[in-house]
Amino acid sequence: MAGQEQKSSQSRDENEDVDPGTPAPAPAAPQASEATEGVDDLLDEIDGVLESNAEEFVRGFVQKGGQ
Protein backbone atom coordinates (compact mmCIF):
# COMPACT_ATOMS: atom_id res chain seq x y z
CA MET A 1 0.00 0.00 0.00
CA ALA A 2 2.96 2.26 0.54
CA GLY A 3 3.13 2.75 -3.19
CA GLN A 4 -0.27 4.40 -3.14
CA GLU A 5 1.05 7.26 -1.12
CA GLN A 6 3.70 8.14 -3.60
CA LYS A 7 1.62 10.16 -5.97
CA SER A 8 -0.15 13.16 -4.66
CA SER A 9 -1.22 15.21 -7.60
CA GLN A 10 -3.33 17.62 -5.62
CA SER A 11 -3.88 18.07 -1.96
CA ARG A 12 -7.15 19.20 -0.60
CA ASP A 13 -5.81 22.54 0.60
CA GLU A 14 -4.39 23.37 -2.77
CA ASN A 15 -7.69 22.54 -4.34
CA GLU A 16 -9.56 24.90 -2.14
CA ASP A 17 -7.24 27.74 -2.97
CA VAL A 18 -7.40 27.49 -6.71
CA ASP A 19 -8.98 30.27 -8.52
CA PRO A 20 -10.84 30.35 -11.58
CA GLY A 21 -13.48 32.94 -11.77
CA THR A 22 -13.69 31.92 -15.33
CA PRO A 23 -12.29 28.46 -15.62
CA ALA A 24 -8.80 28.59 -16.95
CA PRO A 25 -7.38 25.76 -19.00
CA ALA A 26 -5.91 23.40 -16.49
CA PRO A 27 -2.56 21.76 -16.93
CA ALA A 28 -2.76 18.30 -18.32
CA ALA A 29 -2.42 15.53 -15.81
CA PRO A 30 1.30 15.41 -15.15
CA GLN A 31 1.29 11.65 -15.42
CA ALA A 32 -0.39 11.47 -18.79
CA SER A 33 2.61 11.51 -21.07
CA GLU A 34 4.68 9.20 -18.91
CA ALA A 35 1.75 6.87 -18.74
CA THR A 36 1.40 6.79 -22.50
CA GLU A 37 5.03 5.87 -22.88
CA GLY A 38 4.60 3.33 -20.17
CA VAL A 39 1.61 1.38 -21.52
CA ASP A 40 3.79 -1.69 -22.04
CA ASP A 41 5.08 -1.28 -18.56
CA LEU A 42 1.50 -1.06 -17.36
CA LEU A 43 0.51 -4.22 -19.17
CA ASP A 44 3.44 -6.08 -17.68
CA GLU A 45 2.28 -5.06 -14.24
CA ILE A 46 -1.31 -6.07 -14.94
CA ASP A 47 -0.14 -9.40 -16.38
CA GLY A 48 1.25 -10.13 -12.96
CA VAL A 49 -2.04 -9.73 -11.10
CA LEU A 50 -4.69 -10.92 -13.53
CA GLU A 51 -6.76 -13.87 -12.36
CA SER A 52 -5.25 -16.97 -13.87
CA ASN A 53 -8.12 -18.53 -15.80
CA ALA A 54 -9.83 -15.70 -17.65
CA GLU A 55 -12.38 -17.89 -19.37
CA GLU A 56 -13.52 -19.57 -16.17
CA PHE A 57 -13.50 -16.36 -14.16
CA VAL A 58 -15.59 -14.40 -16.62
CA ARG A 59 -18.05 -17.26 -16.98
CA GLY A 60 -18.34 -17.59 -13.20
CA PHE A 61 -18.89 -13.90 -12.53
CA VAL A 62 -22.67 -14.03 -12.43
CA GLN A 63 -24.65 -11.38 -10.57
CA LYS A 64 -28.22 -10.95 -9.60
CA GLY A 65 -29.80 -7.74 -10.78
CA GLY A 66 -30.05 -4.88 -8.33
CA GLN A 67 -31.31 -1.35 -8.41
Binding site: N15, V18, A24, L42, E51, K64, G66
Partner: protein, 549 residues
Protein backbone atom coordinates in the same frame (compact mmCIF):
# COMPACT_ATOMS: atom_id res chain seq x y z
CA UNK B 1 -17.54 40.97 -4.22
CA UNK B 2 -21.15 39.95 -3.90
CA UNK B 3 -21.72 38.03 -0.75
CA UNK B 4 -23.04 34.63 -1.71
CA UNK B 5 -26.73 34.15 -1.34
CA UNK B 6 -27.70 31.31 0.94
CA UNK B 7 -30.43 28.87 0.07
CA UNK B 8 -32.97 27.21 2.28
CA UNK B 9 -30.36 24.57 3.03
CA UNK B 10 -28.07 27.24 4.45
CA UNK B 11 -25.35 26.66 1.86
CA UNK B 12 -24.25 29.24 -0.74
CA UNK B 13 -26.35 28.86 -3.89
CA UNK B 14 -25.28 28.93 -7.53
CA UNK B 15 -22.37 26.51 -7.25
CA UNK B 16 -21.42 22.97 -6.34
CA UNK B 17 -22.27 23.02 -2.64
CA UNK B 18 -25.30 20.96 -1.77
CA UNK B 19 -26.28 18.17 0.59
CA UNK B 20 -25.47 14.96 -1.29
CA UNK B 21 -24.51 11.36 -0.85
CA UNK B 22 -23.77 8.13 -2.71
CA UNK B 23 -25.00 4.54 -2.71
CA UNK B 24 -22.84 1.74 -4.04
CA UNK B 25 -24.06 -1.80 -4.65
CA UNK B 26 -21.00 -3.99 -5.01
CA UNK B 27 -20.75 -6.94 -7.32
CA UNK B 28 -20.12 -10.02 -5.17
CA UNK B 29 -18.25 -13.16 -6.14
CA UNK B 30 -17.19 -16.24 -4.21
CA UNK B 31 -15.06 -18.06 -6.78
CA UNK B 32 -14.66 -21.22 -4.70
CA UNK B 33 -18.40 -21.66 -4.15
CA UNK B 34 -20.10 -21.05 -7.46
CA UNK B 35 -23.85 -20.83 -7.12
CA UNK B 36 -23.74 -19.64 -3.50
CA UNK B 37 -26.73 -17.51 -2.57
CA UNK B 38 -25.74 -13.91 -3.21
CA UNK B 39 -27.98 -12.50 -0.49
CA UNK B 40 -26.41 -14.84 2.04
CA UNK B 41 -22.91 -13.95 0.86
CA UNK B 42 -23.79 -10.26 1.12
CA UNK B 43 -25.04 -10.70 4.67
CA UNK B 44 -21.70 -12.28 5.54
CA UNK B 45 -19.97 -9.10 4.42
CA UNK B 46 -22.17 -7.02 6.70
CA UNK B 47 -21.73 -9.44 9.59
CA UNK B 48 -17.95 -9.49 9.16
CA UNK B 49 -17.81 -5.72 9.37
CA UNK B 50 -20.12 -5.71 12.39
CA UNK B 51 -17.82 -8.16 14.13
CA UNK B 52 -14.75 -6.09 13.38
CA UNK B 53 -16.47 -2.95 14.60
CA UNK B 54 -17.51 -4.65 17.79
CA UNK B 55 -13.97 -5.83 18.41
CA UNK B 56 -12.57 -2.40 17.73
CA UNK B 57 -15.00 -0.70 20.08
CA UNK B 58 -14.38 -3.31 22.74
CA UNK B 59 -10.76 -2.43 22.53
CA UNK B 60 -11.40 1.19 23.42
CA UNK B 61 -12.02 1.72 27.11
CA UNK B 62 -15.57 2.51 28.04
CA UNK B 63 -16.99 1.93 24.60
CA UNK B 64 -18.49 -1.52 24.74
CA UNK B 65 -20.76 -3.02 22.17
CA UNK B 66 -23.22 -4.54 24.55
CA UNK B 67 -26.42 -5.96 23.24
CA UNK B 68 -27.36 -7.95 26.30
CA UNK B 69 -30.36 -5.78 27.09
CA UNK B 70 -31.43 -5.57 23.52
CA UNK B 71 -33.47 -8.75 23.23
CA UNK B 72 -35.96 -9.16 21.83
CA UNK B 73 -35.15 -7.45 18.59
CA UNK B 74 -36.09 -3.83 18.72
CA UNK B 75 -37.30 -3.02 15.30
CA UNK B 76 -37.82 0.68 15.07
CA UNK B 77 -40.53 0.38 12.48
CA UNK B 78 -43.92 1.65 13.47
CA UNK B 79 -42.75 2.85 16.83
CA UNK B 80 -42.72 6.47 17.92
CA UNK B 81 -42.10 8.64 20.96
CA UNK B 82 -43.78 11.82 22.07
CA UNK B 83 -42.39 14.82 20.34
CA UNK B 84 -41.51 16.52 23.61
CA UNK B 85 -38.79 13.97 24.22
CA UNK B 86 -36.23 15.32 21.82
CA UNK B 87 -33.76 18.14 21.86
CA UNK B 88 -35.29 21.33 20.46
CA UNK B 89 -32.32 21.82 18.15
CA UNK B 90 -33.09 18.57 16.44
CA UNK B 91 -36.81 18.41 16.81
CA UNK B 92 -38.87 19.30 13.82
CA UNK B 93 -42.51 20.17 13.76
CA UNK B 94 -43.40 16.96 12.04
CA UNK B 95 -44.92 14.07 13.92
CA UNK B 96 -42.00 11.79 14.73
CA UNK B 97 -42.89 8.54 13.03
CA UNK B 98 -40.17 6.09 12.15
CA UNK B 99 -40.09 5.30 8.50
CA UNK B 100 -40.62 1.79 7.27
CA UNK B 101 -37.02 1.97 6.23
CA UNK B 102 -35.74 2.11 9.79
CA UNK B 103 -32.08 1.37 9.82
CA UNK B 104 -31.53 -1.04 12.65
CA UNK B 105 -28.12 -1.04 14.19
CA UNK B 106 -28.89 -3.67 16.76
CA UNK B 107 -30.40 -6.95 15.76
CA UNK B 108 -29.82 -8.59 19.08
CA UNK B 109 -26.76 -10.47 20.22
CA UNK B 110 -27.54 -13.71 18.46
CA UNK B 111 -27.59 -12.06 15.09
CA UNK B 112 -24.10 -10.72 15.55
CA UNK B 113 -22.69 -14.06 16.60
CA UNK B 114 -20.52 -15.43 13.86
CA UNK B 115 -19.30 -18.51 15.64
CA UNK B 116 -20.83 -21.90 15.01
CA UNK B 117 -22.58 -23.33 12.05
CA UNK B 118 -25.66 -21.18 12.17
CA UNK B 119 -24.60 -17.87 10.77
CA UNK B 120 -27.71 -15.76 10.72
CA UNK B 121 -28.17 -13.06 8.17
CA UNK B 122 -27.21 -9.62 9.37
CA UNK B 123 -28.79 -7.30 6.88
CA UNK B 124 -28.36 -3.81 8.27
CA UNK B 125 -25.75 -1.72 10.00
CA UNK B 126 -25.25 1.96 10.71
CA UNK B 127 -21.61 2.89 10.92
CA UNK B 128 -19.71 5.29 13.12
CA UNK B 129 -18.93 7.41 10.06
CA UNK B 130 -22.66 7.97 9.59
CA UNK B 131 -22.99 5.57 6.65
CA UNK B 132 -25.35 2.67 6.20
CA UNK B 133 -24.01 -0.77 5.26
CA UNK B 134 -26.63 -3.31 4.35
CA UNK B 135 -27.89 -5.93 1.96
CA UNK B 136 -29.86 -4.50 -0.92
CA UNK B 137 -31.36 -7.11 -3.16
CA UNK B 138 -28.48 -9.49 -3.64
CA UNK B 139 -25.59 -7.10 -3.13
CA UNK B 140 -23.83 -5.47 -0.20
CA UNK B 141 -24.56 -1.78 -0.38
CA UNK B 142 -22.78 1.12 1.25
CA UNK B 143 -24.74 4.37 1.50
CA UNK B 144 -22.45 7.22 2.35
CA UNK B 145 -23.19 9.76 5.05
CA UNK B 146 -24.56 13.10 3.90
CA UNK B 147 -21.87 15.54 2.79
CA UNK B 148 -22.00 19.08 1.48
CA UNK B 149 -19.56 19.11 -1.43
CA UNK B 150 -18.24 16.87 -4.21
CA UNK B 151 -14.78 16.35 -2.72
CA UNK B 152 -16.29 15.01 0.48
CA UNK B 153 -18.65 12.93 -1.66
CA UNK B 154 -15.62 11.23 -3.22
CA UNK B 155 -13.96 10.85 0.16
CA UNK B 156 -16.90 9.20 1.91
CA UNK B 157 -17.76 7.14 -1.16
CA UNK B 158 -14.16 5.87 -1.26
CA UNK B 159 -14.51 5.21 2.47
CA UNK B 160 -17.16 2.66 1.53
CA UNK B 161 -14.59 0.83 -0.58
CA UNK B 162 -12.28 0.81 2.43
CA UNK B 163 -15.07 -0.46 4.68
CA UNK B 164 -15.97 -3.38 2.44
CA UNK B 165 -12.30 -4.13 1.82
CA UNK B 166 -11.92 -4.65 5.56
CA UNK B 167 -14.74 -7.18 5.42
CA UNK B 168 -13.26 -8.90 2.36
CA UNK B 169 -9.96 -9.32 4.22
CA UNK B 170 -11.70 -10.74 7.26
CA UNK B 171 -13.61 -13.23 5.09
CA UNK B 172 -10.66 -14.25 2.95
CA UNK B 173 -9.43 -16.99 5.25
CA UNK B 174 -12.61 -19.06 5.34
CA UNK B 175 -11.34 -22.45 4.23
CA UNK B 176 -14.70 -23.96 3.37
CA UNK B 177 -16.42 -21.20 1.46
CA UNK B 178 -13.27 -19.53 0.22
CA UNK B 179 -12.95 -15.78 -0.19
CA UNK B 180 -15.78 -13.38 -0.97
CA UNK B 181 -14.62 -10.69 -3.36
CA UNK B 182 -16.31 -7.40 -4.16
CA UNK B 183 -16.34 -5.31 -7.29
CA UNK B 184 -17.24 -1.65 -7.66
CA UNK B 185 -18.92 -2.04 -11.04
CA UNK B 186 -22.45 -2.17 -12.40
CA UNK B 187 -22.88 -5.25 -14.53
CA UNK B 188 -21.81 -8.87 -14.86
CA UNK B 189 -21.81 -8.55 -18.63
CA UNK B 190 -24.54 -11.17 -18.86
CA UNK B 191 -27.64 -9.04 -18.49
CA UNK B 192 -27.65 -8.15 -14.79
CA UNK B 193 -27.07 -4.62 -13.56
CA UNK B 194 -26.83 -3.14 -10.09
CA UNK B 195 -26.60 0.48 -9.23
CA UNK B 196 -24.45 3.19 -7.86
CA UNK B 197 -26.80 5.99 -7.03
CA UNK B 198 -26.38 9.61 -6.10
CA UNK B 199 -28.67 11.67 -3.93
CA UNK B 200 -29.00 15.42 -3.93
CA UNK B 201 -31.12 17.60 -1.71
CA UNK B 202 -33.25 19.95 -3.76
CA UNK B 203 -35.72 22.58 -2.52
CA UNK B 204 -39.26 21.28 -2.82
CA UNK B 205 -40.18 24.54 -4.51
CA UNK B 206 -38.30 23.56 -7.67
CA UNK B 207 -40.93 22.01 -9.97
CA UNK B 208 -40.13 18.42 -10.87
CA UNK B 209 -40.80 19.15 -14.52
CA UNK B 210 -37.93 21.65 -14.43
CA UNK B 211 -35.66 18.94 -13.06
CA UNK B 212 -36.67 16.52 -15.81
CA UNK B 213 -36.19 19.12 -18.53
CA UNK B 214 -32.88 20.41 -17.20
CA UNK B 215 -31.34 17.09 -16.26
CA UNK B 216 -32.23 14.83 -19.18
CA UNK B 217 -29.84 16.27 -21.80
CA UNK B 218 -27.19 16.48 -19.11
CA UNK B 219 -27.60 12.87 -17.99
CA UNK B 220 -27.66 11.61 -21.58
CA UNK B 221 -24.21 13.15 -22.12
CA UNK B 222 -22.63 13.09 -18.63
CA UNK B 223 -21.35 9.56 -19.23
CA UNK B 224 -18.71 10.92 -21.61
CA UNK B 225 -17.03 12.55 -18.60
CA UNK B 226 -18.01 10.08 -15.87
CA UNK B 227 -18.50 6.72 -17.56
CA UNK B 228 -16.45 3.81 -16.22
CA UNK B 229 -16.20 1.93 -19.53
CA UNK B 230 -17.52 -1.50 -20.37
CA UNK B 231 -16.48 -4.46 -22.53
CA UNK B 232 -19.46 -5.68 -24.56
CA UNK B 233 -22.43 -3.95 -26.14
CA UNK B 234 -26.05 -4.49 -25.16
CA UNK B 235 -27.48 -5.50 -21.81
CA UNK B 236 -26.09 -9.03 -22.06
CA UNK B 237 -22.87 -7.80 -23.66
CA UNK B 238 -23.36 -10.16 -26.55
CA UNK B 239 -22.11 -7.78 -29.22
CA UNK B 240 -18.32 -7.59 -29.05
CA UNK B 241 -16.91 -4.13 -28.49
CA UNK B 242 -16.23 -1.45 -25.94
CA UNK B 243 -18.48 1.31 -24.70
CA UNK B 244 -18.30 4.40 -22.53
CA UNK B 245 -20.75 3.45 -19.80
CA UNK B 246 -21.39 0.45 -17.56
CA UNK B 247 -25.02 1.42 -17.08
CA UNK B 248 -26.26 3.11 -20.25
CA UNK B 249 -27.64 0.00 -21.95
CA UNK B 250 -29.81 -0.77 -18.94
CA UNK B 251 -31.89 2.38 -19.26
CA UNK B 252 -35.16 1.95 -21.07
CA UNK B 253 -37.39 4.84 -20.01
CA UNK B 254 -37.19 8.61 -19.69
CA UNK B 255 -38.95 9.15 -16.36
CA UNK B 256 -40.27 6.66 -13.84
CA UNK B 257 -40.37 5.18 -10.39
CA UNK B 258 -38.66 1.88 -11.05
CA UNK B 259 -35.04 1.24 -10.23
CA UNK B 260 -34.68 -2.47 -10.99
CA UNK B 261 -36.57 -2.83 -14.26
CA UNK B 262 -37.38 -0.51 -17.12
CA UNK B 263 -34.93 1.84 -15.48
CA UNK B 264 -35.61 5.52 -16.16
CA UNK B 265 -33.07 8.27 -16.84
CA UNK B 266 -34.90 10.38 -14.27
CA UNK B 267 -36.04 8.48 -11.20
CA UNK B 268 -39.10 9.82 -9.44
CA UNK B 269 -38.68 8.17 -6.06
CA UNK B 270 -39.78 10.81 -3.57
CA UNK B 271 -38.46 9.88 -0.22
CA UNK B 272 -36.86 13.01 1.11
CA UNK B 273 -35.43 11.60 4.37
CA UNK B 274 -35.84 15.20 5.51
CA UNK B 275 -38.57 17.77 5.94
CA UNK B 276 -40.86 16.73 3.14
CA UNK B 277 -42.51 20.09 2.59
CA UNK B 278 -39.16 21.80 2.31
CA UNK B 279 -36.96 19.36 0.42
CA UNK B 280 -36.99 16.63 -2.10
CA UNK B 281 -34.21 14.11 -2.45
CA UNK B 282 -33.27 13.71 -6.07
CA UNK B 283 -32.39 10.05 -6.50
CA UNK B 284 -30.05 9.66 -9.46
CA UNK B 285 -29.69 6.12 -10.75
CA UNK B 286 -28.15 6.75 -14.14
CA UNK B 287 -24.49 6.91 -13.08
CA UNK B 288 -21.66 4.40 -13.21
CA UNK B 289 -19.75 3.32 -10.13
CA UNK B 290 -16.38 5.04 -10.39
CA UNK B 291 -12.93 3.90 -9.36
CA UNK B 292 -11.37 7.04 -10.86
CA UNK B 293 -11.40 9.78 -8.26
CA UNK B 294 -11.71 12.53 -10.85
CA UNK B 295 -14.59 10.83 -12.67
CA UNK B 296 -16.37 10.32 -9.37
CA UNK B 297 -15.69 13.93 -8.37
CA UNK B 298 -17.05 15.27 -11.63
CA UNK B 299 -20.11 13.04 -11.37
CA UNK B 300 -21.12 14.74 -8.13
CA UNK B 301 -19.69 18.17 -8.88
CA UNK B 302 -21.14 18.73 -12.33
CA UNK B 303 -24.54 17.36 -11.31
CA UNK B 304 -24.62 19.71 -8.33
CA UNK B 305 -23.80 22.60 -10.66
CA UNK B 306 -26.58 21.62 -13.06
CA UNK B 307 -29.07 21.45 -10.19
CA UNK B 308 -28.03 24.99 -9.30
CA UNK B 309 -28.65 25.98 -12.91
CA UNK B 310 -32.13 24.49 -12.79
CA UNK B 311 -32.93 26.19 -9.50
CA UNK B 312 -31.82 29.51 -10.97
CA UNK B 313 -33.82 28.95 -14.17
CA UNK B 314 -30.56 29.12 -16.09
CA UNK B 315 -30.17 25.62 -17.54
CA UNK B 316 -29.58 25.42 -21.30
CA UNK B 317 -32.94 25.30 -23.03
CA UNK B 318 -32.52 22.19 -25.08
CA UNK B 319 -34.49 19.02 -25.41
CA UNK B 320 -33.04 15.81 -26.75
CA UNK B 321 -35.09 13.77 -29.21
CA UNK B 322 -35.50 10.19 -27.93
CA UNK B 323 -33.05 10.52 -25.03
CA UNK B 324 -32.92 6.81 -24.18
CA UNK B 325 -31.71 5.81 -27.62
CA UNK B 326 -29.39 8.81 -27.68
CA UNK B 327 -27.81 7.72 -24.42
CA UNK B 328 -27.15 4.24 -25.80
CA UNK B 329 -25.68 5.58 -29.03
CA UNK B 330 -23.36 7.99 -27.24
CA UNK B 331 -22.14 5.20 -24.99
CA UNK B 332 -21.41 2.98 -27.99
CA UNK B 333 -19.28 5.55 -29.80
CA UNK B 334 -15.91 5.84 -28.10
CA UNK B 335 -14.73 8.13 -30.92
CA UNK B 336 -17.23 10.68 -29.57
CA UNK B 337 -18.50 11.72 -32.99
CA UNK B 338 -22.05 10.55 -32.40
CA UNK B 339 -24.63 13.32 -32.27
CA UNK B 340 -27.93 13.77 -30.55
CA UNK B 341 -30.86 15.44 -32.27
CA UNK B 342 -32.52 18.27 -30.42
CA UNK B 343 -36.22 18.99 -30.71
CA UNK B 344 -35.37 22.30 -32.40
CA UNK B 345 -33.67 20.33 -35.17
CA UNK B 346 -30.04 20.97 -34.24
CA UNK B 347 -27.59 18.11 -34.05
CA UNK B 348 -24.92 18.28 -31.37
CA UNK B 349 -22.24 15.90 -30.22
CA UNK B 350 -22.42 14.75 -26.64
CA UNK B 351 -19.43 16.90 -25.81
CA UNK B 352 -21.10 19.97 -27.33
CA UNK B 353 -24.06 19.44 -25.02
CA UNK B 354 -21.66 19.17 -22.08
CA UNK B 355 -19.94 22.40 -23.12
CA UNK B 356 -23.30 24.18 -23.10
CA UNK B 357 -23.91 23.08 -19.53
CA UNK B 358 -20.37 23.99 -18.47
CA UNK B 359 -20.63 27.47 -19.93
CA UNK B 360 -23.98 28.11 -18.30
CA UNK B 361 -22.70 26.80 -14.96
CA UNK B 362 -19.56 28.95 -15.14
CA UNK B 363 -21.66 32.03 -15.83
CA UNK B 364 -24.09 31.35 -13.00
CA UNK B 365 -21.27 30.64 -10.57
CA UNK B 366 -19.49 33.84 -11.58
CA UNK B 367 -22.70 35.85 -11.16
CA UNK B 368 -23.34 34.27 -7.77
CA UNK B 369 -19.77 34.92 -6.65
CA UNK B 370 -19.22 31.29 -5.65
CA UNK B 371 -16.37 30.61 -8.08
CA UNK B 372 -14.37 33.70 -7.15
CA UNK B 373 -10.77 33.54 -6.00
CA UNK B 374 -11.67 35.19 -2.72
CA UNK B 375 -15.10 34.82 -1.27
CA UNK B 376 -15.99 31.83 -3.40
CA UNK B 377 -17.43 28.70 -1.86
CA UNK B 378 -14.12 26.81 -1.96
CA UNK B 379 -15.31 24.05 -4.29
CA UNK B 380 -17.10 25.37 -7.37
CA UNK B 381 -13.92 26.76 -8.93
CA UNK B 382 -12.28 23.34 -8.91
CA UNK B 383 -15.32 21.57 -10.35
CA UNK B 384 -15.46 24.06 -13.21
CA UNK B 385 -11.74 23.75 -13.83
CA UNK B 386 -11.68 19.95 -13.90
CA UNK B 387 -14.87 19.81 -15.97
CA UNK B 388 -13.36 22.12 -18.57
CA UNK B 389 -10.13 20.16 -18.59
CA UNK B 390 -12.06 16.93 -19.19
CA UNK B 391 -14.09 18.35 -22.09
CA UNK B 392 -10.97 19.91 -23.61
CA UNK B 393 -9.01 16.67 -23.42
CA UNK B 394 -11.90 14.55 -24.67
CA UNK B 395 -12.18 16.91 -27.63
CA UNK B 396 -8.53 16.93 -28.53
CA UNK B 397 -6.28 14.68 -26.47
CA UNK B 398 -7.70 11.31 -25.46
CA UNK B 399 -4.32 10.24 -24.13
CA UNK B 400 -4.39 13.06 -21.62
CA UNK B 401 -7.99 12.19 -20.77
CA UNK B 402 -6.90 8.60 -20.10
CA UNK B 403 -5.07 9.91 -17.06
CA UNK B 404 -8.35 10.52 -15.23
CA UNK B 405 -11.44 9.85 -17.42
CA UNK B 406 -12.25 6.33 -16.34
CA UNK B 407 -13.57 4.83 -19.58
CA UNK B 408 -10.59 6.27 -21.44
CA UNK B 409 -8.17 4.90 -18.87
CA UNK B 410 -9.71 1.44 -19.08
CA UNK B 411 -9.72 1.60 -22.87
CA UNK B 412 -6.02 2.42 -22.91
CA UNK B 413 -5.29 -0.78 -21.01
CA UNK B 414 -7.64 -2.86 -23.17
CA UNK B 415 -6.29 -1.45 -26.41
CA UNK B 416 -2.80 -2.10 -25.12
CA UNK B 417 -3.66 -5.78 -24.68
CA UNK B 418 -5.40 -5.93 -28.03
CA UNK B 419 -2.38 -4.47 -29.77
CA UNK B 420 0.18 -6.53 -27.91
CA UNK B 421 -1.59 -9.88 -27.96
CA UNK B 422 -3.84 -9.50 -30.98
CA UNK B 423 -7.05 -10.02 -28.99
CA UNK B 424 -10.57 -9.67 -30.33
CA UNK B 425 -13.12 -7.81 -28.25
CA UNK B 426 -14.79 -11.06 -27.28
CA UNK B 427 -11.60 -12.51 -25.83
CA UNK B 428 -12.15 -13.56 -22.22
CA UNK B 429 -9.02 -11.75 -21.08
CA UNK B 430 -10.58 -8.41 -21.99
CA UNK B 431 -13.74 -9.35 -20.12
CA UNK B 432 -11.57 -10.26 -17.15
CA UNK B 433 -9.75 -6.94 -17.27
CA UNK B 434 -13.11 -5.14 -17.31
CA UNK B 435 -14.27 -6.97 -14.18
CA UNK B 436 -10.99 -6.97 -12.32
CA UNK B 437 -10.63 -3.26 -12.97
CA UNK B 438 -12.96 -2.64 -10.02
CA UNK B 439 -11.87 -5.35 -7.56
CA UNK B 440 -11.80 -3.52 -4.21
CA UNK B 441 -8.56 -5.25 -3.20
CA UNK B 442 -5.85 -2.74 -4.08
CA UNK B 443 -3.35 -5.46 -4.99
CA UNK B 444 -5.86 -7.00 -7.42
CA UNK B 445 -7.99 -4.10 -8.58
CA UNK B 446 -6.52 -2.74 -11.80
CA UNK B 447 -7.79 0.80 -11.23
CA UNK B 448 -6.15 0.74 -7.80
CA UNK B 449 -2.90 -0.47 -9.37
CA UNK B 450 -3.03 2.40 -11.84
CA UNK B 451 -3.69 4.92 -9.10
CA UNK B 452 -0.78 3.54 -7.08
CA UNK B 453 1.40 3.76 -10.15
CA UNK B 454 0.39 7.34 -10.84
CA UNK B 455 -1.20 6.67 -14.19
CA UNK B 456 -4.71 7.30 -12.89
CA UNK B 457 -5.00 10.63 -11.11
CA UNK B 458 -5.56 10.67 -7.38
CA UNK B 459 -7.74 13.29 -5.66
CA UNK B 460 -8.01 11.96 -2.13
CA UNK B 461 -5.28 10.36 -0.07
CA UNK B 462 -5.50 6.90 1.45
CA UNK B 463 -5.02 8.25 4.95
CA UNK B 464 -7.99 10.60 4.49
CA UNK B 465 -10.08 7.75 3.11
CA UNK B 466 -9.13 5.60 6.10
CA UNK B 467 -10.21 8.36 8.45
CA UNK B 468 -13.49 8.83 6.57
CA UNK B 469 -14.20 5.13 7.05
CA UNK B 470 -14.22 5.77 10.79
CA UNK B 471 -15.36 9.36 11.27
CA UNK B 472 -18.41 11.19 9.95
CA UNK B 473 -18.35 14.44 8.00
CA UNK B 474 -18.56 17.35 10.43
CA UNK B 475 -20.99 19.58 8.60
CA UNK B 476 -24.18 17.55 8.35
CA UNK B 477 -26.46 15.55 10.65
CA UNK B 478 -24.26 12.54 9.85
CA UNK B 479 -21.95 13.90 12.53
CA UNK B 480 -24.56 13.52 15.26
CA UNK B 481 -25.50 10.04 13.98
CA UNK B 482 -21.92 8.84 13.69
CA UNK B 483 -20.72 10.31 16.96
CA UNK B 484 -23.71 8.88 18.82
CA UNK B 485 -22.81 5.43 17.52
CA UNK B 486 -19.12 5.88 18.25
CA UNK B 487 -19.61 7.19 21.74
CA UNK B 488 -22.61 5.19 22.92
CA UNK B 489 -22.66 2.03 20.81
CA UNK B 490 -24.52 0.09 23.47
CA UNK B 491 -27.19 2.74 23.79
CA UNK B 492 -28.06 3.45 20.20
CA UNK B 493 -30.93 1.11 19.45
CA UNK B 494 -31.22 2.15 15.86
CA UNK B 495 -30.59 5.00 13.55
CA UNK B 496 -31.80 6.16 10.18
CA UNK B 497 -31.15 9.12 7.93
CA UNK B 498 -33.62 11.20 9.87
CA UNK B 499 -33.42 9.83 13.39
CA UNK B 500 -31.25 8.36 16.10
CA UNK B 501 -33.01 6.16 18.64
CA UNK B 502 -31.35 5.84 22.05
CA UNK B 503 -32.00 3.15 24.62
CA UNK B 504 -31.22 4.65 28.01
CA UNK B 505 -29.63 2.29 30.51
CA UNK B 506 -32.09 0.66 32.86
CA UNK B 507 -35.10 1.68 30.87
CA UNK B 508 -37.28 0.01 28.32
CA UNK B 509 -38.33 3.31 26.85
CA UNK B 510 -36.56 4.35 23.73
CA UNK B 511 -35.75 7.97 23.09
CA UNK B 512 -36.04 8.99 19.49
CA UNK B 513 -34.22 12.07 18.27
CA UNK B 514 -35.45 13.21 14.87
CA UNK B 515 -32.83 14.68 12.56
CA UNK B 516 -34.90 15.95 9.69
CA UNK B 517 -32.77 18.98 8.92
CA UNK B 518 -29.69 17.64 7.12
CA UNK B 519 -27.59 20.65 8.10
CA UNK B 520 -28.37 20.41 11.81
CA UNK B 521 -26.70 17.94 14.12
CA UNK B 522 -23.35 19.18 12.88
CA UNK B 523 -20.16 19.16 14.85
CA UNK B 524 -20.50 22.88 15.49
CA UNK B 525 -23.97 22.41 16.93
CA UNK B 526 -23.58 19.19 18.92
CA UNK B 527 -19.94 18.73 19.87
CA UNK B 528 -20.36 20.61 23.18
CA UNK B 529 -23.04 18.11 24.09
CA UNK B 530 -20.72 15.16 23.43
CA UNK B 531 -17.77 16.87 25.10
CA UNK B 532 -19.75 17.88 28.15
CA UNK B 533 -21.30 14.49 28.82
CA UNK B 534 -19.14 11.42 28.67
CA UNK B 535 -21.72 9.03 30.06
CA UNK B 536 -24.93 8.14 28.31
CA UNK B 537 -27.25 9.14 31.12
CA UNK B 538 -25.79 12.63 31.42
CA UNK B 539 -25.76 12.94 27.67
CA UNK B 540 -29.40 11.99 27.32
CA UNK B 541 -30.39 14.17 30.26
CA UNK B 542 -28.75 17.12 28.60
CA UNK B 543 -30.10 16.23 25.17
CA UNK B 544 -33.64 15.54 26.24
CA UNK B 545 -33.83 17.53 29.44
CA UNK B 546 -33.31 20.91 27.91
CA UNK B 547 -36.89 20.94 26.78
CA UNK B 548 -37.92 21.26 30.41
CA UNK B 549 -35.90 24.42 30.97
Amino acid sequence: MPSSERGSEGLPVGGALRVMGSETEYGIHAPATPGANATYLSSQVIAAYAKLTRERLHASPGAGWDYTDETPLRDARGWSVRRNQAHPDLLTDLEPVLTAEGVALAHGPSELELDGDQEPALMNLVLGNGARLYVDHAHPEYSSPEVTNPLDAVLWDSAGDAVVLTAVRALSSDSERGPINLYKNNTDGKGASYGSHENYLVPRAVPFTDLVRGLTPFFVTRQLVCGAGRVGIGQDGRTPGYQVSQRADFFEAEVGLETTMRRPIINTRDEPHALADKYRRLHVIVGDANCSHVANYLKFGTTALVLSLIEAGAAPEIEVHEPVGAMHRLSHDTDLRETVRLLDGRRLTGLEVQWMYLEAAAKLAADAGVAAEHGGDGHTAMVLRLWERALTDLDADLDAAAGYVEWAAKRRVLEGYRARDGLDWNDARLGLIDIQWSDVRPERGLASRLIAKGSLERLVEDRDIARAAIDPPSDTRAWFRGKSIQRFPANVASASWDSVVFSPPGSYRLQRVPTREPLRGTRALTEPLFEGHKDIQGFLDALLGERHT
